[in-house]
């Protein structure tokens, strides 16, 4: 279970780049808008990590948009209507998403393959429609002007500064999102390399055989789906806080599909695949902005060509470079 020197160095370089390298480059170039892009990447990567985890038990999850939306609404409602601190609403949003996942998962996790994919896709649509229909979510108007996260201090020692008193919330959100992402992927890495991960892998490959060796497959499916949705809820809640608003259209079917694409593109066999996939897809999309109305055309063409010629994901190309599997 020990880490090799090479792995530790990789992690060190990674941390250096995101916490020191990126801020320096942005300060030097003055492209402050990159903070927003990178923050989005980090948060979407958290939600994508959940999708990846459901794939690890052999289920294609196109419903993460639903859980991100649930997380965003729960946090917004708790902060705006109940006056909670954002930092408490964040885990609450994750837990609520996980709870919903358990309730919905009980019936739908029995479905496999394309059936599960289709029902989760439908689920995203249900979440949007529910947000439109419920009184507490304010219908199509959504919840706007959500206050920025307040400060947290224990025994007078400030742990997290008050975001609203900050000059540069972009940097603060960037740092927060990156920390969350790192914690998520560290947890994911541990999980995959622990016994639970091995059991998931056995289920991914053959559920019948897994149950014959005593794996309680329905229990593990629920646990994994709950963890996956927890990630989705956290990512969504953080997003809502940055945008300071949440609407039924904040996370839609296209977002769910994108979460899935992030995982596929990064490569399903690699824990850090979804992170890379999110970065490439989101950044790629952003860079293509200059092409105006051709943005979508070029983006989708590249996507199709990538799948056509690298059907097993980006990381299937480079064995050796950055393989932290």
């Amino acid at each position: 279970m020990g880490f090799s020197g090479k792995q530790l160095m990789g992690v060190g370089i990674f941390l250096f780049v995101i916490f020191i390298g990126v801020p320096l480059i942005i300060a030097a170039t003055g492209r402050w808008d990159f903070y927003y892009t990178l923050t989005s990447v980090a948060l979407l990567a958290i939600a994508s990590a959940g999708v990846w985890l459901t794939f690890y038990i052999g289920r294609i999850n196109i419903g993460q948009g639903a859980f991100a939306l649930i997380g965003a609404y729960v946090s917004a409602i708790l902060v705006v209507k109940a006056g909670w601190s954002f930092w408490i609403s964040l885990p609450a949003a994750g837990l609520f998403a996980a709870l919903v996942a358990i309730l919905i998962g009980l019936p739908i996790l029995r479905l496999r393959g394309v059936y599960f994919a289709m029902i989760t896709l439908v689920l995203t649509q249900v979440a949007t429609l529910t947000a439109l229909a419920l009184p507490i979510t304010n219908g199509a108007k959504g919840i706007s002007s959500i206050p920025l996260p307040s400060g947290v201090s224990i025994f007078g020692i400030p742990l997290i500064p008050d975001f609203s008193s900050m000059e540069n919330t972009k940097l603060a959100f960037y740092i927060t999102a990156c920390i969350l992402m790192i914690v998520t992927y560290a947890a994911l890495y541990r999980l995959v390399n622990s016994r639970l991960g091995h059991l998931c892998r056995s289920m991914q490959q053959n559920e019948e055989l897994a149950s014959s060796i005593g794996v309680n497959i329905s229990y593990i499916r629920i646990v994994i789906f709950a963890i996956s949705s927890f990630f989705g809820g956290i990512g969504g809640a953080m997003f809502g806080s940055i945008a300071q608003s949440v609407y039924p259209s904040s996370f839609q079917v296209a977002d769910s599909v994108n979460f899935m694409l992030n995982c596929f593109l990064g490569g399903l066999g690699y824990v850090f695949g979804p992170m890379l996939g999110t970065l490439v897809l989101y950044f790629g999309w952003d860079l293509l902005f200059e092409f105006g109305k051709y943005q979508m055309l070029i983006y989708s063409t590249i996507l199709i060509l990538l799948i056509r010629f690298l059907p097993n994901g980006l990381l299937s190309l480079s064995i050796g470079k950055g393989d932290k599997k």
Binding site: I108, R110, L268, M296, L297, S300
Partner: protein, 289 residues
């Protein structure tokens, strides 16, 4: 009541055609065609262009929709799906490809036809009115009739022609079909083209009633998925039942709950989930088929 039934038949017949195309592609290649809704939209725009813009007779415009989509489907299968299915370690890669194609077609539609809602002149004027109990414009009746005719023709094709038999053999067991001498590559392409053509045909038919716009693609795909789940994926009778059931649920829901707006679809979604919890393989599907 009569009105609800008539609306149900009308909606159901259109939906069944959409679901048929999707289920055919799924049965043949195990591909979940995310781009099905976009294909439907393209079919609508082609008929709009020929019939609405250039004044070509409606039937001819419909044929153009079919031909365009059949060619598009064949090309997509031949140059994208077939090689990806061969080269990929996981079946699911096709899902990614299908999503990419959906984005691509959306982009093409945006560039070629724009974002605006487009409609065409009515194909027939007048309204059928039975004592104000049943009101149905004649064009809807005609479209419904044409849709049912197409479904019957499709079933006939699948049942009684050599192509249909080959497609059914392929859907049942790819390897066995190959052993029986079915040209698997060729018939996969034909099947995909046929599925895409059905989507295009409905698009062409419905443009005369609802018009067409860029945003219709995604929701249409989702509805098609629901129908296929209700009926059972990859089963032709299931797709027809799925279409009819969804059509009726919508017609009834919209009639009874219209003041609540989107709640109809929410209820349909929730009942679908409960239904699938009890019967995961759908009405007609084989368990884990």
């Amino acid at each position: 009541m009569e009105q609800i039934l008539a609306n149900g038949v009308y909606l159901g017949s259109q939906y069944a055609m959409i679901a048929l195309g999707l289920t055919l592609i799924f049965a043949l290649m195990n591909v979940l065609n995310f781009a099905h809704g976009q294909m439907y939209v393209i079919g609508g725009f082609v008929t709009y262009t020929f019939y609405g813009q250039w004044g070509v007779p409606f039937v001819l415009a419909l044929v153009m929709s079919c031909v365009t989509l059949a060619i598009l489907g064949a090309l997509i299968e031949r140059y994208l799906f077939a090689p990806v299915i061969k080269g990929s370690a996981r079946e699911e890669s096709t899902m990614l490809l299908a999503a990419g194609i959906a984005f691509f077609l959306d982009a093409v539609i945006l560039l070629v036809f724009g974002e605006k809602q487009r409609g065409v002149p009515k194909i027939i004027d007048g309204v059928f009115n039975y004592d104000f109990k049943l009101i149905m414009p004649y064009d809807r009746i005609l479209i419904c009739f044409l849709a049912i005719l197409s479904i019957v023709a499709f079933i006939g094709l699948m049942q009684y022609t050599k192509t249909g038999r080959a497609l059914r053999a392929l859907a049942q067991d790819r390897t066995a079909a190959q052993l029986m001498g079915v040209n698997v590559d060729r018939y996969s392409m034909i099947g995909f083209a046929l599925g895409a053509m059905l989507a295009g045909l409905v698009g062409g038919l419905l443009v005369t009633i609802t018009g067409v716009n860029l945003g219709m693609g995604g929701p249409t795909s989702i509805k098609a998925f629901m129908m296929v789940m209700i009926g059972g994926a990859g089963v032709i009778s299931g797709a027809i039942w799925g279409g009819i059931i969804l059509g009726f649920m919508e017609a009834i829901g919209l009639a009874l709950l219209y003041q609540y707006g989107d709640i109809t679809y929410l209820l349909i979604f929730v009942s679908l989930m409960i239904f699938l919890a009890i019967r995961p393989q759908g009405l007609m599907g084989k368990p884990w088929g």
